[in-house]
């Protein structure tokens, strides 16, 4: 039981939640989105610079939330840089499959995101991990609507 917890709250997660990477405003941003989890009050704003070839040149976020959501946002921003819009969407699908436990038949390489896979043992926390991603996908698709987990 404590092993589950230790798998969830690995040092990397705690580190990213304490010292989130790419945290702050992005002046060169040309798209952004807000995400909220109305059940717990987590909220984040993600800003992104998408170049003419739909490549994510830079991405930053601000917000507040639990260790899982902040760490997920932080790691995500590190991974998104340099990806095209469709690569980002496909990485999200693989990540979502991993954290919801729906990836039985796929074994995509999700790189550093693997560290968040412990979330699958905590169904009530999956939304914490996926909120930053939903927000990022909304930003790069220039969706005007606020992203919500509910």
């Amino acid at each position: 039981m404590m092993d589950d917890l230790k798998a969830l709250y690995q040092e990397v997660i705690i580190d990213h939640s304490r010292n989130p990477r790419n945290f702050g405003a992005l002046e060169s941003a040309n798209c952004s989105a807000e995400g909220v989890n109305p059940l717990c009050g987590d909220e984040l704003t993600l800003q992104c610079w998408l170049d003419g070839n739909d490549v994510i040149q830079d991405v930053k976020f601000v917000g507040q939330g639990c260790a899982i959501s902040i760490a997920s946002a932080s790691i995500m921003t590190e991974m998104l840089k340099g990806l095209t819009k469709s690569e980002a969407e496909s990485l999200f699908e693989d990540f979502r499959a991993r954290v919801t436990g729906l990836d039985e038949f796929r074994s995509a390489d999700i790189g550093k995101l693997e560290v968040l896979s412990g979330v699958r043992e905590f169904p009530t926390r999956v939304k914490c991990a996926t909120l930053p991603w939903h927000t990022a996908i909304a930003a790069i698709n220039r969706s005007e609507e606020q992203v919500t987990t509910e």
């Binding site: 039981m1 404590m2 917890l5 709250y9 717990c40 507040q64 939330g65 639990c66 260790a67 914490c128």
Partner: protein, 421 residues
């Protein structure tokens, strides 16, 4: 935090009053194993567990009494009607109302408050009228007023609280004026545990010519409710927080107000005569109970009142007060625990945050150790805003909780501290 020396005096005291182990035996769910640990259920503010007396009443009702109420000419309909109306009498006694017709069965506090807003509010409110709502209200005692204010052109104004989580009475007095039609306040704040001085606040509102709607959802499990003494005009509560089934609650309203109010929902049961030229409505309480009511759970509600009386509401309150004092005493030893709600009068609720650990993470870590608490904004976002915090953790108590469970919570908090250390 589990030094025996700490808990001995209070444990002995409560042991003298109530046999908690005997009470716990009436709640089979308390024996559940959660993630390898015995459950320590400290989320009673969200919903309490149900004693055998209540679940057996439901079984017996369905096995021997069920049919539709007030319309059959057969034996079972008589039995169901008798059981349902007898539960209304019990509920009447539970809040010490004058007349059973002043008790309307609703789904819960939320529906009760919406009923008053929709029926009384729509009837009474004029453009420019004011509705006072305190800063510590649950969303269910804010949003219905905003909705009706929007439709009637009236205004919702907030009665502020201080940093202890107490309504600032001077501000309340200043806010009351001849435009004030409705004051909506909670008896016990779900996110802070504050017990508000309802009786005094009602008197002040009446002096200004306003009616008072009391949200008693968190009060009902802990406080002996007396609507005559409080002199409140409406009072709503939920069964499921006071050992009754989910989906049932009551709205008390003063007879002369309910009698004058237009119906809330239309349907069967609430009419006297229907024709396409127009319909007339039944007397109270049935005017406000359109459709087949939640008969079984109303009967269960009656059983829950009886369960509380059998133990003694004052005895329940005393035991829970000891738990609350104990949890405060333990928490005050840690510099990294911040307490929300330090009102002089508190009941049932202990809200806190742990520095460096977000409430959600704390909730997850405690759950894995079998300790169930609530984390989040507790449907009281204005309270969170007041304290500039996104989420808090909340332990809330019922008669079956023990000092040992509180020790387990602090042990689990210690583990969280290590994990995030």
């Amino acid at each position: 935090m589990s030094e025996a020396a700490l808990k001995t005096p209070t444990e002995i005291q409560s042991g003298n009053l109530l046999d908690i182990q005997e009470i716990r035996a009436q709640f089979p769910i308390l024996g559940e194993i959660v993630h390898g640990n015995t459950l320590a259920y400290l989320d009673n503010g969200a919903s309490s567990q149900k004693p055998i007396a209540v679940t057996e009443t439901l079984e017996r009702y369905y096995a021997t009494q069920h049919a539709n109420v007030h319309r059959g000419v057969h034996e079972l309909s008589d039995r169901a009607t008798e059981a349902y109306e007898s539960a209304r009498k019990t509920a009447c006694k539970f809040v010490n109302a004058n007349r059973t017709e002043e008790i309307i069965f609703v789904r819960g506090t939320t529906e009760g408050l919406n009923l008053v807003a929709e029926s009384y509010g729509r009837w009474k409110l004029q453009p420019g009228d004011e509705i006072l709502v305190s800063e510590m209200e649950h969303h269910s005692n804010i949003v219905p007023w905003q909705l009706i204010a929007e439709r009637t052109g009236s205004i919702v104004r907030m009665i502020p609280m201080n940093d202890n989580g107490e309504i600032i009475q001077e501000d309340y007095l200043n806010l009351l004026n001849d435009k004030t039609q409705i004051v909506a306040i909670t008896y016990v704040a779900n996110s802070l545990g504050t017990v508000n001085p309802i009786k005094e606040m009602v008197r002040m509102a009446h002096d200004a010519g306003a009616v008072v709607v009391v949200d008693a959802a968190q009060a009902a499990p802990h406080i002996s409710i007396d609507v005559i003494d409080l002199d409140c005009d409406f009072l709503a509560l939920s069964g499921h927080k006071m050992y009754a089934p989910t989906g049932i609650g009551i709205l008390y309203g003063k007879g002369e107000l309910l009698e004058a109010m237009p119906p809330y929902q239309g349907g069967g049961e609430m009419i006297r005569r229907v024709s396409f030229e127009g319909s007339t409505y039944a007397d109270i309480p049935h005017r406000f109970e359109a459709g087949t009511p939640n008969i079984a759970d109303a009967v269960g509600f009656g059983a829950a009142c009886q369960f509380m009386w059998d133990i003694g509401i004052d005895e329940i309150a005393t035991h829970e007060k000891e738990l609350l004092d104990y949890v405060h005493e333990c928490a005050e030893r840690y510099e990294d625990i911040r307490i929300y709600g330090n009102a002089k009068h508190k009941a049932g609720v202990f809200a806190f945050t742990l520095d460096k650990v977000h409430a959600h993470d704390l909730g997850t870590v405690l759950d894995r150790q079998g300790v169930a608490i609530r984390v989040g904004h507790h449907c009281a976002m204005p309270v969170m805003k007041h304290f500039n915090v996104a989420a808090t953790a909340r332990a809330s108590f019922a008669v079956y909780n023990t000092h040992d469970e509180i020790d387990r919570m602090f042990e689990a908090i210690n583990f969280a501290r290590e994990l995030f250390g």
